[in-house]
Amino acid sequence: VVLIMDCFVGAATGAIKSISLRDSSFSNITTVRELDPKKDEITSMAFSGDDQTEILVAQLDRSLRLYDSVTGAISTLFSLEGEGRIRGLHVTKGQEIVTASDEGTVELWERSGEKRASVRVGDGELLAMGVNGEGSIAVSGKKLLLRTLDPATLKENWKSKNVRNDWLDLEVPIWDMQAKYSNDGKYIVTSTGTHEIRYYDPRAQKKPVKRMEWLEEPITALSVSQTSDWTVIAGNTKGEMAQFDLRKMLPNAKFKGQAGSVRCIQSHSSAPLIASCGIDRFVRVHDVNTRKLMHKVYCKARLNTLLLRDELTILSKMKEEDKEDWALMDSRKEEELIDEKEIKIEPEDEEDVWDAIEKEEEEEKEVVEVKDEGEEDEEEEEEEVQPMTKRRKITQKPKAKGKERKRKESEAEKEEDIQEIPVKRKKVVTNKRKGAEEIAKENKKRRK
C-alpha cells in the first residue's frame, strides 16, 4: 500500500500524520490509542536525506523516532540525554543530527546515539534554530541573543547585539521566536515575540540591519520563500498570516483562513505554495500569487510542526500526464517517419506530401484564427490537449524547411487525431494565469 503523502504534520497529542492534499485527507502514522501526550508530544520534525522520504521526529520526552515513508516503518532511534524541549532538529549531510533544546544547549549526535559535540549557548530559553545550506546554525530565543555556530565544532562564529533602548529608554526584551536563513544562506531573518521581523547580516554588523513591526501579537511562525527573493511569510498567535517584502520592509499580502495561532509555515521549493498548520487543527495550503486558500485539511488534533515535500500530488500529476503524452507523440513520430521515407521514394506521392503541407498550413491559420476569436476556446482545448497547445505555439513561429516540415506534418496529423475528441464548450470565465488550483481541477476531470 503506497500512501500518498504531500506533507507530514506532528500533533500535540503525539500523532504523526501524513496528509494527501489531492484527497484532502490525512492518515495517522502512529496509532493514536497508545499515545501519551505528556511524553509523546511532537516538538520538532526534520527530513533526513535529500529524497525526503525519511522523517526524523523529536518528542517531548526527548526520544527520536525515524519514520520511513517508503516502507512505512517507524522506529525509535535513541533517547537524547539531558533535559529540555527540543526546539530545533536538523540532519547534516554527513548524516549527523543537530538538536537544539530549550535549556540553551546545542548538540551534535551520531546516528548511533553518541554525542559528538555539545555547547551551552547561553542562559536564556532557546526557541529557534535555523540552518544554512552549508550547515551553519543560527540559534536564538528568549533572553538569548541570535548567534551563529560552526557546523563541525559548534563554536560561536558570530553573535548579535540587542537593539537600542526604546523611546521610554527601556531595554527592548530579547525574544526571538523563529530564526531562518535566507535562500543564499548569508542573511538571517528572525521573528520576535515583540511583534517584529528582523533582518540580520552577519558580515556587516551585529545589530539587525532592518526591523519591522507587524500588528501586536507575537509572531510564532516564519518561512523564507524559496520561489521569490526577498519575501518572507509570517504568522502570529491570532492566526494572521502575511507575506512581507524584505527590501521595503512592508507587508505585501495577507493569507486568510487561520482561526488560531499559527505554529509552522513551510513554503514549497518550486511552486508558489505555502502550507501552514496551527492550533485550530487545520492544515491550510495557500497560493502565494493569488493568496487564495487552495486546500484545507481537518486534522482533529492541535498541530505543532509541518514538513512539506517537494513532490506534491497536486503538482506532480501534471508532470506524469505530460510524460505520457510526450511518450505517445514520440512513438507516433517514429511510425510516421518510416511512412515518410516510403513516400520519398515514389514521386507521385510527393504531391500528396505538398498537399498535406498545404492542409497543415491551413490548419495552422485556422488555429491562429481560433486563438484570435477568444481565449475561452484556447482554454478549452488546453483542457484536453495541454501539451499540444504549447507545441503549437513554438512551431508556428519559424518557417520550417525539409525535415522540420515533415515533423510538422506528423504533428498536424496528431493534431487531427486529437481534435477528433469532442471539445466541451463551456462558458468559463478564466484568467490567463492558471493557478495550481485550476490545474488540479482539470486533472480531476481528466481522471474522471
Partner: protein, 362 residues
C-alpha cells in the same frame, strides 16, 4: 400535539360528508374484496395521485396569493395587514387540505412538510464530532479537563469582576454565586488579572470567572480554567436578573444537573466541557435543579430552572430561577489568561467568518 389539534379542527372545517365517506369507502374495500392485489394497486395509484394532489394544492393557493400580491397595490399600500391575513388564510387552507389527505392515506404517503430553517441548511462543517471518534476521544481523555472527568479534582470556582465594579456587576456575581455551588466572590480592587490567576492557582481554585464591565453594566465574562486550562471570553448579550424575571422561584443549595445542548463541533465540545467543569460531578436529583447551556446558531443561552415531573413523568414543568443570559464566544485561548502573548486556539474574525448566514462554529 398536532394530531390532537387536527382532531380539534376537523369538525369545523370538514365538509359534512367528507371523512365519513372515506371511512365508508375503506370499509367497502375491505369488505367486498379481500384480495391484496387490488388494495395494493389502489395504494400505488393513490400515491401518485396524492403527489399530484399535493402539487395542485401548493400551486393553487400559492398562485392565488401571488396574484393577489401582484395585483393589489392598494392592499400593499394599505399597510399589508389585509394581505397578511389573506396569506395566512391561504396557508391554513393548504394545511387543511393536506391534513385531509393525510387522514385518508396515512402519514407515510402524505409526509409532513419540513420547513427550511437555517439550522437545517447549515453549511457542512468538517469539525463536527462523530460519536465514537477514536482520535477525538483520545484527545479529550488527555486534555485539560480530563482530571475533572476522572473525578480527581472537585471544582472550586472563584468569581471576580472588573476593578471598581458597579452595582449591576456585583448583582450578577451574587447571582452566579447562588447558581454555582462552592463559588466565592473576590473583589478586584485593581489587581492585574495575571496576578489573580497566579493567586487563584496557588489557593487551589479550578476555575476563574471574571465579569467584565463597561458603562456600568456587565458585558463580558472571561472564563479561565485554572491549572493550565483554556481561557474563553464571552460577550453578554441579554441579561435579566432574578428579580426582573416574572414568576421565579427560589434557589437551593443542592448540586444542580447540567444540560449542555447542541455543541456539535470540536470547538463546541471544548466549550461544553469547560462549562460542565464549573459544577460538581454528582448532581443531587432531590433538588430538582437544572442549569442549561443551550447553543443555537453560536448563541449560548444560559438558563437556570427548577423542574417538576407531571402527568406521570411525561411532562416537566419548569420554574425559572436565577439569571437569564445570552452569551457569544469571542475567543478561546490555550493556556491561562494572557491576551497579549498567549496563543489563541480560536478567534472570531467577523469579516472572515461571519460572511455566511448558515455557517456556525459551535
Amino acid at each position: 400535539q398536532v394530531v390532537i389539534a387536527m382532531s380539534g379542527k376537523k369538525p369545523k372545517r370538514a365538509e359534512p360528508g367528507g371523512p365519513k365517506e372515506a371511512d365508508i369507502v375503506k370499509k367497502k374495500a375491505k369488505g367486498e374484496e379481500g384480495e391484496g392485489k387490488e388494495v395494493k394497486e389502489k395504494k400505488v395509484l393513490s400515491k401518485e395521485e396524492i403527489d399530484e394532489k399535493l402539487r395542485e394544492i401548493k400551486q393553487s393557493t400559492t398562485e392565488a396569493t401571488l396574484k393577489k400580491k401582484r395585483g393589489d397595490k392598494m392592499q400593499r399600500a394599505a399597510g399589508g395587514k389585509a394581505l397578511r391575513l389573506q396569506r395566512s388564510a391561504a396557508k391554513r387552507e393548504r394545511q387543511s387540505q393536506r391534513a385531509k389527505l393525510r387522514e385518508k392515506y396515512g402519514e407515510e404517503l402524505v409526509a409532513k412538510e419540513i420547513p427550511r430553517t437555517i439550522e437545517n441548511t447549515r453549511e457542512y462543517d468538517e469539525t463536527m464530532v462523530n460519536e465514537e471518534d477514536e482520535e477525538v476521544e483520545h484527545d479529550e481523555a488527555n486534555d485539560e479537563f480530563a482530571a475533572y472527568y476522572r473525578k480527581d479534582v472537585a471544582p472550586k470556582v472563584l468569581i471576580t469582576m472588573s476593578p471598581y465594579a458597579k452595582v449591576k456587576t456585583w448583582k450578577l456575581c451574587y447571582e452566579l454565586q447562588r447558581c454555582i455551588p462552592h463559588a466565592e466572590i473576590f473583589s478586584r480592587k485593581g489587581v492585574p488579572l495575571k496576578k489573580v490567576v497566579e493567586q487563584a492557582k496557588a489557593k487551589g481554585y479550578t476555575d476563574l470567572l471574571v465579569v467584565h464591565e463597561n458603562m456600568r453594566e456587565p458585558n463580558g465574562i472571561v472564563f479561565c480554567h485554572l491549572p493550565e486550562g483554556p481561557t474563553a471570553f464571552f460577550k453578554i448579550n441579554n441579561l435579566t436578573f432574578t428579580k426582573d424575571i416574572k414568576k421565579t422561584g427560589s434557589s437551593t443549595d443542592h448540586y444542580p444537573e447540567v444540560v449542555v445542548n447542541n455543541f456539535n463541533t470540536r470547538l463546541g465540545h471544548t466549550i461544553a466541557r469547560m462549562f460542565t467543569c464549573l459544577f460538581p460531578q454528582n448532581p443531587e436529583f432531590k433538588g430538582r435543579r437544572v442549569v442549561t447551556l443551550h447553543n443555537q446558531r453560536d448563541y449560548l443561552f444560559f438558563r437556570h430552572h427548577r423542574y417538576e415531573f407531571k402527568k406521570e413523568g411525561t411532562k416537566a414543568a419548569l420554574l425559572e430561577l436565577g439569571p437569564r443570559m445570552t452569551l457569544r464566544l469571542k475567543w478561546l485561548q490555550k493556556g491561562t489568561f494572557d491576551s497579549r502573548c498567549g496563543e489563541y486556539e480560536w478567534v472570531l474574525k467577523r469579516h472572515e467568518m461571519e460572511t455566511s448566514r448558515r455557517r456556525f462554529f459551535l
